[in-house]
Amino acid sequence: MQEDSVAIVDTLTQVYSQKWTGAEQIDQSNAFIHFMYSNNLIFVVLGVTLIIWAILLFFMFRVDKKVSSLEEKINTDQK
């Protein structure tokens, strides 16, 4: 480790950018952001869960339809 190298940048103890202090600027943000910050952030948990559920549902509907089309295909082939 070349400790005197200029290439080494301390990203762990120093704040790199002021953009991450978003929580402190809540007053300037819109109504949706205010809503999500309310009630100890529980709506963020709701959002995460619903995203997972929506994607799983989409997948289930897709597989169901694919099986249906296979069933139709096999039924017409055997006739």
């Binding site: 529980i42 948990v45 709701l46 869960t49 619903l50 559920w53 549902l57 289930m60 509907f61 597989v63 169901d64 339809k65 099986v67 249906s68 296979l70 069933e71 096999i74 055997q78």
Partner: protein
């Protein structure tokens, strides 16, 4: 696509939203994890529903020798296993933060639930041992009828006779008058929703397996 599947989709979305958003009373130790009852307990109810379905089709296999019933029995047992594994894993995570350990051998319900899973693993191992479809269908049906009879004993009868941290042990019913009534408004719809969801997954599974066996046999 049948209409009931859209109903399940909407119903479960509402159950998940309500489970996270509903006001629940403050319960010591459990705190917000009391919401887990909406998701952990229905896993087991869905597993029971699937194992019962599997049991019914195993009896029908022995009655009629229709290979379609064997496919249905196997599919239901598989979906039941998936829900059982979800139940074990959610229970283990919940146990870590309320009982303080991921797994304890002092807890009968936890270990007997794992044993019940093992009994169903043996069902799939047994199935894989036969090449002759007729023989596989009949012998695995007999084993499955034995397997399902162990479930109520392993998950209800024996745990109630023993000291346990899990609700529903040591003579207590799991869900009694000491349970906050607010939890019931979501728990019962969640049970219905997850059981319906398990039937949906089972529906896809057995249809795919039927198509697969028809292609293989044609």
């Amino acid at each position: 696509m049948k209409a009931w599947k859209y109903l399940v989709a909407v119903w479960m979305t509402l159950v998940i939203a309500a489970g996270i958003l509903i006001y629940i009373p403050e319960i010591p130790i459990l705190e917000q994890t009391a919401r887990n009852i909406f998701f952990h307990v229905p896993m087991w109810m869905a597993m029971f529903a699937m194992f019962t379905t599997s049991f019914v089709y195993s009896i029908r296999v022995l009655n009629s020798h229709d290979p379609l019933f064997d496919i249905k029995a196997e599919s239901a047992a598989r979906v039941g296993m998936v829900f059982g594994i979800c139940g074990l894993m959610t229970g283990s995570l919940w146990a870590r933060f309320t009982w303080g350990t991921w797994w304890t051998f002092a807890e009968p319900k936890m270990n007997l639930a794992a044993l019940a899973m093992m009994i169903y693993v043996a069902y799939f191992v047994l199935r894989s041992a036969f090449d002759d479809e007729e023989k596989r269908a009949r012998i695995s049906a007999v084993y499955n009828i034995f397997a399902v009879t162990t479930i109520p004993f392993l998950l209800y009868v024996v745990p109630r006779q023993l000291m346990s941290l899990h609700p529903g042990a040591d003579g207590n019913p799991a869900f009694s008058e000491i349970t906050a009534p607010e939890l019931r408004y979501v728990l019962y719809p969640a049970m219905i929703g997850f059981i319906a969801l398990s039937f949906w997954i089972y529906d896809i599974t057995h249809r795919y397996k039927t198509v697969q066996s028809r292609i293989e046999n044609s």
